[in-house]
Symmetry: C2
Subunit: 420 residues, 2 copies
């Protein structure tokens, strides 16, 4: 199969280095849009012959095309290079309890097809893997993309995971998933290489690739799906930590004497601000106030549906719903302050379906808390933004992880392993 993800075994040091340089060149061409060889050489800091060789190979392989001539700067006009976005594609899957989002992106990171299916919720892993495999093959076929141009499938899902072995450990939000070798099972079912990653890490990678964090060296992407996680980039690299489970902001304790959390801690952020907590608070209120203005269906159609209804009520000015979102946002804000104090970040991006509709209120709450209290606030600028990727953040991130692994490994913290 074309586009087998590299770094699967040992003994590939030489190809690792040349792959690294190739990735630097390809990523520089992608970021620039169009660029001459001279500018490219200056930009990437390799020698002119090295860049020439890499570009020649990239053109031969179809990844890069010549795109006319740029304006002359004295000598003869320079030939411009640009990416051939149709050279390769990647599939991204965001596996959530309440829905599964699929995207296909081209080599430039543009979404060329998307679909949405049932969530992983309480379904058995084998059934979910079968559904995902079928959905991916249909999506690729219906988009008219030759299978040999698909580099692989990236799956983003809630942690904890064993990233390097492709195993889903025991996500509290996917109760039937216990040590499932998702990477290998899905690769076998779908016939494409697969990698898996934490949803928040995937969202952070997407922000750097297609979102609002292209230039940030130290930033976090807070991802709210069913739970609350964060993807962390430090010194320009994704930080995964010793067991690939960094960024668990959902289990920052905001109240040492608070309610016990399933994680063993007390007063964790998720107990106050995750959609489940907001819905539980709303239902408790409604049970005691039959005349309340806020309405939720007596028989719940799921946490996410209830949460969306509360968010819409808040947007429409219903005061109790507004108060619930305000409370969730103020708790999230305090956790973000701790995160910023620990990591000294320059940017925080909020992403994921938990911020649909009411994202601006969360942004405002986080900004206010940081203005009030971040320890180093006078020392450097610190921005808070809502992801421009909307509900696609996780799926686009999963696809870009696949492309990064193959074409821009320097953007990842360490080698990503995959199975095919």
């Amino acid at each position: 199969m074309v586009g087998m993800l590299r770094l699967m075994g040992g003994g590939a040091n030489l190809s690792l280095v040349s792959g690294y340089n190739r990735g630097v060149v390809l990523e520089a061409i992608r970021s620039a849009g169009t660029i001459s060889r001279v500018e490219l050489t200056r930009l990437v800091g390799l020698t002119a012959p090295t860049v020439s060789n890499i570009v020649r190979r990239l053109i031969a392989e179809g990844f890069v095309v010549e795109a006319g001539r740029g304006p002359s700067t004295g000598g003869k006009p320079r030939t411009l290079l640009r990416l051939n976005p149709a050279a390769r594609y990647a599939v991204g899957v965001q596996l959530d309890p309440h829905s599964t989002d699929y995207v296909v992106t081209d080599l430039g990171g543009e979404v060329v097809a998307r679909a949405r299916g049932r969530g992983a919720g309480r379904r058995a892993p084998a059934e979910v893997i079968d559904t995902v495999s079928t959905a991916v093959r249909s999506l690729v076929r219906d988009a008219g993309i030759p299978a040999e141009r698909v580099v692989g499938i990236g799956v983003a899902l809630p942690g904890p995971l064993q990233h390097d072995r492709g195993i889903v450990l025991a996500p509290p939000n996917l109760p039937r998933w216990r040590e499932v070798p998702l990477r290998d099972l899905l690769a076998a079912a779908a016939g494409f290489p697969v990698l898996i990653d934490n949803d928040a890490t995937a969202a952070a990678v997407a922000e750097r690739w297609k979102g609002s964090a292209a230039a940030a060296r130290n930033f976090a992407c807070i991802y709210m799906g069913a739970g609350i996680g964060s993807g962390i980039v430090v010194n320009g690299r994704v930080h995964r930590g010793s067991s690939s489970n960094a960024g668990e902001v959902g289990h920052i304790s905001l109240n040492i004497d608070g309610e016990p959390c399933h994680c063993g801690n007390r007063g964790c952020l998720e107990l106050y601000a995750a959609p489940r907590a907001v819905v539980a608070a709303a239902r408790a209120h409604l049970a005691g106030n039959p005349a309340a203005a806020l309405r939720l269906p007596a028989r719940s159609r799921g946490t996410h549906a209830d949460y969306l209804r509360i968010c819409r009520a808040a947007l429409e000015g219903e005061p109790f719903a507004g108060g619930l979102i305000r409370r969730a946002a103020s708790h999230l804000a305090v956790a973000v302050v701790s995160l910023v104090n620990i990591l000294d970040l320059e940017l925080v991006v909020l992403a994921g379906p938990g911020f649909d509709n009411v994202g601006d209120r969360y942004v405002e709450a986080v900004r206010d808390a940081l203005d009030r209290s971040a320890f180093a606030r006078d020392n450097h600028s610190l921005e808070v933004r809502l992801s421009p990727l909307g509900a696609d953040a996780g799926a686009v991130g999963a696809a870009s992880l696949v492309l990064h692994t193959e074409f821009a490994p320097q953007l990842l913290g360490r080698p990503v392993q995959s199975a095919s």
Copy 2:
């Protein structure tokens, strides 16, 4: 002056690269104790001619000496190399409110002289700089070290700082220090190059250099002096953050509805666990209980003296003092759980004078909390240790920052700038 810290200006890319390789070789020799050129070449991953050239220069400069021959492995016995620890020295200064610690270390990181002086407390910066400058020159002279072998002075002190400009911003624990250009002022007064860094970062560097974290890729050093900070190493590099103020664990909020902190947050760790908080709780108890077993002098001889007395009472089994330390430790433990959840660490080291006497109790509380609640606890091992460097951690760290900057820049997160 010999041993001027490098990286002071631009235009030094070539020397940066050769300095980097030289640092890799020198650090490999230091870590190994004695090592042959063949082993060294294998270890550092450079070509044999490159290693040979670097070693020849290191010997000519006096940094490395030949140290007899190792056992034959078939061919002729191999000449062993070792560091010449007396080739260079660095001074480390830990500036605390209640005391100033000085060490001189040799190139191998061994402490060859130490002294202790008055703290920075409420004294004016100019007076403190004058005292430090005089003390450093006396210490170097009395130790019989030629001034030209002193690479520079590292100063560790509480943040926030502007690390790259060498400016002390406004540490809450040094109330008279506001935007003081300490690096340049001390360099001018003492006649040595100076760099400054956060005390907790310095302690983390010391742990890797001479302490218990030599092999850890992701670890934090919790440093308790007057405040509580942490030095963070991720992917084997010191993480300083966007404004060089990462690691502010003292301002993790443990109670969103708690007392307001000077930082603008509420319920910060330092309000429960810093020595000042422990002493305040003890004095409040004594005021209401004249017959209490715990005794503190009616007229305080300083927070640190009171704190030490409480720690000793706790050690001797006095129950109220024991309860105070237990409470401080349990709060620290919850903050460490958050830190571990965010960074996915493999090691946490406790260092600094706040852990004198009672360090074991803090270690136990942190271990218990992590066993109970770290999100990824089943996924990888996670150790908690008390620093073997004792009260020297900050000063040794400051000295090792100087040596790292000159001789092992690859161990630091990014170039360190200094003034001379």
